[in-house]
Subunit: 226 residues, 4 copies
DNA sequence: GCCTAACCGAGACGGTACGTCCGGTCTTTTT
DNA sequence: AAAAAGACCGGACGTACCGTCTCGGTTAGGC
């Protein structure tokens, strides 16, 4: 997800020469201000209550300035969520605990993932806006799920390389299971994403499917939440 | 999800006696007309475009008539979607092909599930409304996912009973994987739910996790039934 | 100036039969509330400051309700002004002092005409809105000038009848002089309409033009204001 | 009405010395371009539609350049109208036909006054802007009415001098009648200022009020000069 | 068979957010 | 330093839609 002008620029062939760009430059430092304001508002009034006027007021911006950069409220909110999502999975510095199970659990950072009201409210706002059109839906869910699925894939790939997992395992599909289920739980069901849920997914689905026998057997306590 | 009066009635203690219901009786044959109209409108204008006025006009009903039966647009849409969902999984007559894999595939009915624009539009409308409040989110996703997850659980239970699957498998968790992933794919990502997707889930995730070695890679013959 | 539906109704031939008017009836008692609110707002914030939101809030009405009755802010304001103008000249009960000069002066009611801030603000608002389109301009100025010019014409006609004024006088033109000049002074120049101004018009223009020799000669004091 | 700097300069005491004006000199040839552009736009989109952006674009100027010369849209429009009005009455070269009636008619130049759409649109724009504040209203109507009233006064004075008109006539008031009525007709009523209107004013009001018995009823020959 | 309460379709109502437009200011690059 | 271009803030515009209420009319019971 990107701003309007970035997308326009990309539509030009690389040989295009920008026509000297007269007039006052768009102040791209306002982008971050506006996105931050959007997240603040989202966290305060929730998905249903967010308003362009509120965002504009909070950002100290005019509505026209916002609409110059994003074509609709939906685009703005998706970009805003992408803005915080970016910080969550760092594909460059994946954990390395020696076992896949340890790696997958290490990816889970309770301080970021656990149900803070702010986070839940922000995420659930997405679902209500993604249905606006097909393109938004794809952009939005890519932003949410893709980086995490990539991380899972990388960890599984490494496990295959070191022989922990059979090369015949369908890690392409398996790497999407936890991120998708987590997104569904958070966006649609609006339940918190907890360690218990993660453990039941890893030990009940992922590890068995990869035929890694080190997986603990699920205990009652792990399943106490439906 | 039920109509307003049913829910209201249930809230009363069982000793409550309805006060003899004077006046004209509510015509419950209009319920179905209104739900059908809602689905039509959803399919035509999409989730973002649906309007109570449009539904009322399409149903040839007044808005008051609709609000007498459902308290909000969200409730109406959830009920409308439940209205078609109900036809999809028949918990009373589950397939019995002899193998779990066969059973799970038999549950998939291409004519109902495969990507029709109408179906996609209808489903994606849900996501946009569920975020309105917590109660709706639970009600809505229960309607979508629960019956299907129950069916999966029943089939897996049977496979355990007949010894096809280890009793140690976490079928509670596993029975939710396909329904949830399918819902996420349809509601949020707005991609069609296809046989390919189902096969990659069953053969890449479910069957391996259940340690059933009979899982095959998808072949042409699997798709001949489409 | 009339409401939207009245005008529409009038466009029908008299043989038209209204199609039974289904649905809730428009509550025409709200018309007066809204017009009063408009006048209040006009008097408080002035012509430049009037806002549909302010009027709606003051009237306790929704904006849609206002726009259902008047197509634009201009129409509303003109109607509002007409609403008070109507009270100013009562064509049925014209004064009868015995002389035309006395009658013309008697038409002037200081308590209504003299420059109250409220009145000036309200009147000057008209000018700023009349330029919106030709039809409004005619409607607006008709509302302001017509009733007054009609009264002048009737008084002059009576003076002709009783022989006070020559039948050859162009009373059609003369009857428009004072109302038009007064409107110009009030609307465009935004000066108060005073007794001094009226006297200089009657004694410097109207009475001489009618060749009535009873007119006082203008004195310096009458002309002290330019 | 004058430009900002002229007005500013005049506010200084006459001993003020301009501070040597460093840098590029303001190009005053742009003034006329901008005023012409304003008139063009007025004529094309009407009073309600005029926009500073439109004027700037039409003039090939930046908005800042305009605001450097006029403090507001109202001032610009008034100046623009004055720009054409200036050409209409030349107080230095008043007509001299030998009779007051002839002089007054000679002041009327059909090619400038008669109803062109352009002229009407331009004039009516004034009314919408004059109500902005008291100072503008005076400035605006002075520009429109003053020069014309002065010319009438001069012609009437001459008629008094040559004995055509009684010295007792209130020529101060009478000299304002036609200009004011014409302005009202053009600005507020938006009707064309025609020869017929002028003749009815002169022969129905002015000449009778001046007790000049030579006033004729309009004949064909009066219009042959059109 | 008549009364009356609750239903029905239609649509006006109060309120709120939308996305657009414009006035007047400020910034960037060019002349 | 002034010019053209155009982004910026603030705020009003007129539209659309939600959920409620009112209208005239219809459809059941209960009398």
């Amino acid at each position: 997800m990107t701003t309007k002008t970035e997308r326009t620029a990309r539509a030009h062939s690389s040989a295009d020469i920008e026509p000297a760009a007269r007039g006052r430059k768009r102040d791209h430092s306002r982008d971050a201000d506006i996105l931050d304001a959007a997240l603040d508002v989202l966290a305060e009034v929730g998905a249903a209550g967010i308003t362009m006027d509120l965002v504009a007021e909070r950002a100290g911006a005019g509505k026209a300035t916002i609409y110059r950069r994003w074509t609709s409220k939906a685009e703005l909110v998706i970009d805003a969520v992408a803005h915080i999502e970016r910080m969550q999975v760092d594909i460059e510095h994946l954990p390395d605990t020696g076992t896949l199970r340890g790696d997958l659990l290490a990816l889970f950072r309770p301080e970021a993932m656990e149900a803070s009201t702010r986070r839940l409210k922000i995420m659930s706002a997405l679902a209500s806006l993604l249905s606006a059109d097909q393109a938004l839906a794809e952009a939005g869910s890519a932003v949410i799920v893709k980086p995490w699925a990539d991380a899972h894939f990388a960890l599984m790939q490494r496990a295959v390389t070191r022989g922990e997992v059979s090369a015949r395992a369908d890690i392409t599909t398996l790497s999407q299971v936890v991120p998708s289920m987590a997104a569904y739980r958070t966006l649609v069901q609006r339940k918190p994403f907890t360690l218990e849920f993660l453990l039941s997914m890893i030990d009940g689905v992922i590890m068995p499917a990869l035929r890694i026998c080190g997986a603990r057997q699920p205990k009652k306590s792990d399943r106490s939440q439906t």
